[in-house]
Symmetry: C2
Subunit: 363 residues, 2 copies
Amino acid sequence: MTVSKDQKSSAAKSTILSVDAMGGDQGPAAVVAGLSLFAKKDRETRFILHGPSKTLTDLVAKRRNLEGRCTIIDAKGVVTMDDKPSQVVRHGKDTSMWSAIESVRDGTADVAVSCGNTGALMALSMIRLRKLPGVNRPAIAVLWPSRNPQGFNVMLDVGADIRADADDLLRYALMGASYARNGMNLPRPRIGLLNVGTEDHKGRQELKDANELIRDYQGNADFDYVGFVEGGDIQGDIADVIVTDGFTGNVAIKTGEGTAKLIGDLLKEAFKYTILSRIASLLALTSLRRLQKRIDPRGKNGGVFLGLNGTVVKSHGSADALGVAAAITLAAQLSQSQFNSKLAARVAAVLPQEHENIKGDSA
Amino acid sequence: MTVSKDQKSSAAKSTILSVDAMGGDQGPAAVVAGLSLFAKKDRETRFILHGPSKTLTDLVAKRRNLEGRCTIIDAKGVVTMDDKPSQVVRHGKDTSMWSAIESVRDGTADVAVSCGNTGALMALSMIRLRKLPGVNRPAIAVLWPSRNPQGFNVMLDVGADIRADADDLLRYALMGASYARNGMNLPRPRIGLLNVGTEDHKGRQELKDANELIRDYQGNADFDYVGFVEGGDIQGDIADVIVTDGFTGNVAIKTGEGTAKLIGDLLKEAFKYTILSRIASLLALTSLRRLQKRIDPRGKNGGVFLGLNGTVVKSHGSADALGVAAAITLAAQLSQSQFNSKLAARVAAVLPQEHENIKGDSA
């Protein structure tokens, strides 16, 4: 597999993305519309589209700017949101999701994109792509609106696994740093470890251990470790990458999204309350739309699976064309920066380092 | 201790609250101003104020409506936000916080209120009041803005302890239900258990065990168990009480607060952006203020320590008069409903139930 990948990276002139056209709430039309949106800005990237070939051929034919840029691979089955991951792994060979992962596995593409069932996508990615050497638990990383100059932070893991030990958390730090460098153009990202307080004595034992591991390791890597951070720092400007276990991360992003949605709804209500406020909402329309765009998850769509032999971008299940385009943009950027081979090198480098430490040589 | 409490509840005609006047960011003036605000609406409740007597006497003298309603207990020491809980427990006997807890311990008051250092307050409460029979881990419960008719949900634990096993989570469910009944007037609260998905097979083992324990127990209690809920349900209308361990709960509330704050700040910026939007913000001022009030934590101030021999209401460290008044209002309501003795009875009832189960009798 590694051989075919190397061959590919040296041979390929243009980026090729593997796209699962099925499994999202809005169906393949939204996915093809998203590709078309992206293709207006990027004229090089090519796509391998996975799904029922008749449907996809018709949809692609309607989009002039996709002409000659899509290879369609026929896959009759669809993974639904209710399918159990274990079932998909055993009986899902005919699905578009499986097929999309396969194009990364065989080295045709570096990055796969899917709007489908997260659990199934993770399970398939794990089984078919396998973990990178040195990675015990892969992670899902998301971008989160923040006060940073770049407008968002990376958080991982947000749900690939429900636990993480200190070694996993160190890997998450390395993978998150790599993602911030290649996906967000931050040469020296700041890493924070999520906890219930910022003092060194706070939190569970694995967090105290990870705190020391990451701090010790920062000399060997191009990131700055800022230590423990709290829930209020996820959208702050103290760190660019927030490291946590998948249970805590999952609850945190869903809490944040739910809070943002509640406030958005209350804001709409507030503006409907009086005639004056209705007029006000008309006057402020542009400003409010700008705000909405700033915090709209569709603008920065795409959770990314890290720690596998290949990168998988998970778009929101409810993504529309705009959401799909955002996920495709991220996938293209990660593919062009040869992100996954850089990440693999980073994580693999931890192993010999640890062996040296055992021998008492901490250079 | 129990004896003196019983004597007190039968003898006392009016509610007496024990108030730590020191340790908040805004000092004793904000606390006394908060008491005065509350006293405008409630003419019965009396206060025991703890702190330097000269300062407090002067502050109280300036508030006409507090005349004859405050007993001042002199305490020279102050617990600062930087003090370590272990230090306060060992050397904090002269502090206003210690003194405030002592008035609950000796049965003079049912409920203590403090704006001080949370860790120290929890440690002192644990050591001086001791845990209720049947409670292994006390919890901190907060009110959270939600889509429920009552406008907010209860969440616990948000940081008393960093872990909780299945038995603790069952106690949290019982304590949270009791709090919702007595603090929010919900006769039959709906309880949800926070997890990373709603299916029964999701999450860590202790969550699966607690899921069964709480489900089995709901027949014996006046609440409805809705099963697993997710981060997006904390501000939803699926459950009235969200049960979780203190690590997850702490990260969740801080993430939610941080997100709300970020959106609030971005909203202010958006309204400053153009002349039209500045005019709009003036027109919408009343509506926006109404929204702010709805989601402002000061309106529902007060984390509550549950599972002790006595109730302790923790107000935000940065609470102003309005925040203090909200915490005092909650404390008064809990005291008047004889919340703590009801809660004690609820939690104690689990013990014989378990013993019966062991004997094979699950009536």
